[in-house]
Amino acid sequence: MTIHLSIILWLPAVAGLLALLLPSRFARWISLIGTLLVLAYTITLLADYDRALGGLQYVTDELWISSIGVHYALGVSGLNLVLLATTAVIFTASALWTLVDEPDHGKPGIYALLMGLAQTAVLGAFLAQDRALFVIFFDLMLVPFYFLIVIWGGPDRTSAVLKLFLYTLVGSLLMLVGAITTGVMAADGGQPSFLLAELAKTPLGSTAQGWIFLAFALAFLIKMPSFPFHGWMPDGYSNMPIGVLAVFTAILSKVAAYGFLQVALPLFPEAAVEYQELLMIVAVASILYGSVMAFTVDSARLVLGYSSIAQLGFIVLGIFALDGRGADGALLQATNHAIVAGALIFVVAMLARRTGGSEKLSDMGGIAKGAPAFAAVFLVLSFALLAMPGTANFVGEFMILLGTFTSKMAFAFVAAIGVALAAFYALRLYVSSMHHRVAEKVNSFELTLREGLVIVPLLLVVIALALYPQFALSPAQDATSKALSAAQQVQNSDASNTTQGAAR
């Protein structure tokens, strides 16, 4: 069966354009149909991808900008297979939310177009097999979000969005310089190439790797966000409309995590080993800082924002354990967190409806009374967030910690505290909103049919992943080991150079 990745990639943008051009009363429907088509296509991909064969499949490769040597190269591998489907799920949920749950906020055509462009850019970043193309899509992702926030955002949107843009673009444009430099240097006067497949053959000298790797790492850490680079997050999260925030928190951070595995590690194995501990320190700091902040802030939205910092810290930790299990766990956790965090963002919006519009935990309480089904849904999602045994999040975090234990035990001990802290903030979010005394403003009601339409499918995905995490894990294993192989080789040769037989 031939699957054209270009169709998946451009379909959302085309749907968005149609939504803009056709009468605006159809816009939300067209947007939903577009995301559903992409979802169907990615599910076909999941079924059709030859797991036994592994590797890169459905490759599209055209020379795009011949003067510079940039290729329009797309492909599906074990690394991005599940993330593509996750992207489709979240964007579909967001389109559905906009259609059924949000009041008309004006200009639905433009909204649909921007969401379509956003999805195209995200899919492009996941699919790109040329790192210049990856960087271009990575930068492009931000543009639709700028407009989405400027037009439909909260009261401080202008300054919030500027902060978001400045933070994230510093990283990603430096990454662009890094990406171009690697290609030009590897070409050594000839025609540069940025194809990921070709670069493995001509790795860079170790001297150049250092700063370019750091540029990539900075870009990814800002986008996630990770602890010292999260300055844009509180304002950014507070001012995003719900449908946009769900996508942003669920998917964009995962592009960054994916970037580490897809681009940074294979490209800069020596630098990855050299800076392994630095990144693990950042990861652990993110876990602790995010968890503590998530436990203290009053805004339900920011509880999720800070918990994302912590969760993404786990993912970085898993990747930079430079151990197969850690990376597998990180990739699984990327999918888990995307679905759970996306769903919880919608839950926050639903909570706000029951408290007269406030997202503050201090205005909530006793919402479970009169909304048992809603409470049940929320509870399951909270358990998933805190990685209760039995959920796929548990499997993910367990594998991450296992990988970290084998490579850097000290980090694993500290990170394990984060697992306990997750239980604190997840349960605090649940208990203080759903239980306790019924707060003044609270006017609770049961999960409506429309809310259920959005949240129940996401819940089903969470349960499905919990029952069969292997589905997401199995294609990843081969791919992560490939992504790590270069770095592990460097590590092994270092180890055998210093102490005999210390290599794993």
Partner: protein, 509 residues
């Protein structure tokens, strides 16, 4: 009594008239425009003169296309027609066409008289041709003055506006200082090398080992400073915001693209050809100028309420980016400069088209507040401005991004990756002034007209013509075409890169 007088007179130099055709077209057009401008009926003056200007620029472009790919030396080594000249002439004449349309119904052309306005624009363009094509110090200076003098007048062409006169005077004074500095530099250069031809100068520097000669170094310094004035590079840029703001907006648009292209053309040719043997001495200076220009331009543009001032500082910053391509002294660097000038001018001119439209439609002039609510009021202009700002900021999928990509690639290949990193960081700073414009357009819901009828509230006692003027369809058209070009070249940049592929062929890099 048939003395052979002819034998005593040196043979007249051979002149390749075909090679000079772009210059001749521009000069001829300038004369025709001046004559037509004397016509009695106002309709002829206001409609035919701009048409003459359009036709002339189009004819010049036609000549450029006919000469495409040639590499010839004209008039005994005074001028050189090579791909660099032709590419830059394409930019200049393209900017000429667009600026003519922008100025078509402008107040300025009315105040100074149409014949003069458009013929000065054509004369200035002729000067730009001489400047970018010159390969001799004397022709360079002739070109420089032929370019500058018409522009001094054009800046002051809104003779009834104080600001415009001030801008013209300021530009005249600062420009003259720049010209004088260049001239002094040229004199010293001639003194040091004994030559006026560029390649002869290069040969003299190499053979006499002049690279450390104090006289020669003084000459290089004066040339650098003089051209930095002309190209408005920091720290010699102070005139730019005032002149850009005060000059009639179509003239500002023309200057920001055409003058810039011409200035970089002559800088490339003078330094990369004549002074290349001494590249090690002047390269660090230009690197420093590039850095200062990028910083000053980007910082200066922050929080400017006037769009024209903001675009002036932005053009300073953009000139700094172009210098990154220049200091490399490589083939790729020159190609990157040419593609940058082409791709950047699209977004820049689009921005000016919208500014002019709003100047005519509202009474807020070029203030950024004139753009408030544009998204719901004039969606096409709003989209044009958005694309222009994104392109100037270098966001992916716009022409400006591809221009920067090319520069970064050239810098990386020329071992100046750190300069590319600085460029990128400063272009992030530039987002802090480009994006608020976009935000103003799309978020600023002005108080909607009471009944949503969209009518302009009638002022008490206002005569029918007191309501804000109409922008004119040509502005929307130009803006839309340029915005589409920004998007198309942002996705398919290869045609532009092919166009400039041979840019450095005549330089011997």
């Amino acid at each position: 009594m048939s003395f052979s007088v002819a034998a005593a007179v040196p043979a007249a130099p051979y002149i390749d008239w075909a090679g000079l055709s772009p210059l001749l077209a521009l000069l001829g057009g300038a004369i025709v425009a001046l004559i037509v401008g004397l016509a009695g009926p106002r309709a002829i003056r206001t409609q035919v003169v701009p048409l003459v200007s359009l036709v002339t620029f189009a004819a010049a472009i036609g000549c450029v296309i006919a000469l495409w790919g040639q590499s010839i030396v004209l008039i005994e080594g005074a001028l050189q027609l090579d791909p660099l000249t032709l590419i830059l002439m394409l930019v200049i004449c393209g900017a000429g066409i667009i600026s003519t349309l922008l100025a078509w119904r402008d107040q300025a052309a009315d105040e100074i008289a149409h014949g003069e306005f458009f013929s000065l624009m054509l004369l200035g363009s002729a000067g730009m041709f001489v400047l970018v094509a010159s390969r001799d110090l004397v022709t360079t200076f002739v070109g420089l003055e032929l370019l500058s003098l018409p522009l001094y007048i054009l800046c002051a062409s809104r003779v009834r506006a104080e600001r415009s006169l001030e801008a013209g005077l300021k530009y005249l004074i600062v420009g003259s200082v720049g010209s004088a500095t260049v001239l002094y530099g040229f004199a010293l250069l001639y003194g040091a090398t004994g030559q006026t031809g560029y390649s002869e100068i290069a040969a003299a520097i190499a053979s006499n080992g002049l690279a450390t000669d104090p006289l020669f170094l003084t000459a290089v310094a004066m040339c650098t400073v003089g051209f930095a004035f002309k190209a408005s590079l920091a720290p010699f840029h102070q005139w730019t915001p005032d002149v850009y703001e005060g000059a009639p907006t179509p003239v500002t648009a023309f200057m920001s693209v055409a003058t810039k292209a011409a200035a970089f053309g002559v800088i490339i040719r003078l330094f990369d050809v004549a002074l290349r043997p001494a590249a090690e001495t002047w390269e660090p200076i230009w690197v420093a100028i590039a850095l200062i220009t990028m910083v000053v331009g980007n910082v200066g543009a922050l929080r400017q309420p006037s769009m024209k001032r903001m675009l002036a500082y932005s053009s300073v910053a953009q000139a700094g980016y172009v210098l990154v391509g220049f200091v490399l002294v490589t083939d790729l660097g020159v190609q990157a400069i040419c593609s940058y000038l082409i791709l950047y001018s699209l977004g820049n001119l689009a921005a000016f088209a919208v500014v002019i439209a709003r100047e005519r439609e509202t009474d807020e002039g070029d203030n950024i507040s004139a753009l408030r609510g544009l998204g719901s009021e004039r969606p096409v202009l709003a989209l044009v401005m958005t694309m222009a700002m994104l392109s100037l900021a270098g966001i992916p999928a716009t022409a400006g991004f591809m221009a920067k990509l090319r520069l970064i690639e050239a810098a990386a290949a020329g071992d100046y990756a750190w300069l590319a990193a600085v460029l990128v960081i400063l272009s992030v700073v530039s987002l802090a002034y480009y994006l608020p414009v976009v935000a103003t357009i799309w978020r600023g819901e002005t108080e909607p007209a009471a009944d949503g009828a969209g009518g302009v509230p009638v002022l008490a006692g206002g005569a029918p013509d007191a309501e804000p003027g109409r922008a004119g369809w040509e502005l929307t058209l130009i803006g839309a075409v340029l915005a589409i070009a920004v998007l198309v070249f942002g996705i398919i940049p290869q045609p532009v890169f092919n166009l400039v592929a041979s840019a450095a062929r005549g330089l011997g890099l």
